[in-house]
Symmetry: C2
Subunit: 142 residues, 2 copies
DNA sequence: TTGAAATTGAGATTAAATATCAATTGAATT
DNA sequence: AATTCAATTGATATTTAATCTCAATTTCAA
């Protein structure tokens, strides 16, 4: 469970699991969509367990470092995150018209990337694949 | 040639090919590396044909819109661009230690993505694949 | 209980990118 | 050549996500 994992992660770094960090962790795992830091802060602000904006940003960085959360992409305006613990790895298709995000996964694609890393002598740790274009609905309109 | 393409692009939009825009275009195509807007501005500042910071940013956006330049990635600090006209499509491996960028291309990978788009009813127009990890040199150190 | 280390939050700071706007330029028309 | 007007420029101001600062507070092990 994410709480235990985060606690272990913090312990190894000599950091403490405070009520603010719990508040952020809880909020991040209370829904399963992609989110931006500012939105997350506002959700926490309106919940019963508070944390300051600074703490939200700080904790978010720790969550990424722990592996529980990943940065999906960096848009013009801000970063976009998602919790990944409890979800298997996937990549994203983003519609340039409506902005909708389609998640997909391909074993073949993952293996091919490993192969490409190997042949380039690169020790790949993670990747971000973002396909842009028009989703099923929007491609009919324009 | 890029000048002609840019001129046609501007014409279609009812815009003019000014000396400032030429200066930016020239500088962007004077080297073949990835670059950040601020660095580009400084290069232009030290060249003989000047353009203000505002014009550099504005022209950069036009160059992306024209298809001559692409945004490689958006880092914590700024956007990273590269001119793509004259270069074939490729994806990037980025070293988390030294920041070096390795370009790669795989026909298989490209086809697989097309296949994935098809099976998702997605009309893919472009993609960004960024593999992060350690380059050949850095993986030995850490 | 004590004390060192970690954490917090309010506000300041940073910096990339965009917006503002008066002055200038470009080029088509007379 | 002069007129005209939209486009463009550049200096500066503004925006805003993210980070930093630091005094006050909390945590927890000794
Ligand atoms: Zn979930
Ligand atoms: Zn993947
Ligand atoms: Zn996702
Ligand atoms: Zn490249």
């Amino acid at each position: 469970m994410e709480n235990k994992i985060f606690q272990n992660f913090l312990e190894k770094k000599g950091l403490k699991l405070t009520k603010e960090r719990i508040a952020v962790l809880k909020e991040v795992f209370s829904f399963h969509d992609h989110f931006e830091p500012e939105r997350l802060y506002l959700r926490i602000k309106n919940s019963d367990s508070k944390a300051s904006r600074a703490s939200v940003y700080r904790t978010l960085n720790l969550l990424v470092e722990s592996g529980l959360v990943e940065k999906v992409t960096r848009t013009e305006k801000s970063n976009v995150y998602e919790h990944t613990f409890g979800h298997s790895h996937h990549d994203h298709m983003i519609c340039d018209r409506c902005g909708s995000i389609t998640e997909f996964y391909s074993e073949k694609l993952e293996n091919l990337q490993k192969e490409i890393c190997r042949s380039n002598g690169f020790d790949g740790k993670s990747h971000t694949l973002e396909i842009r274009g028009y989703c099923n609905k929007c491609k009919k309109i324009k």
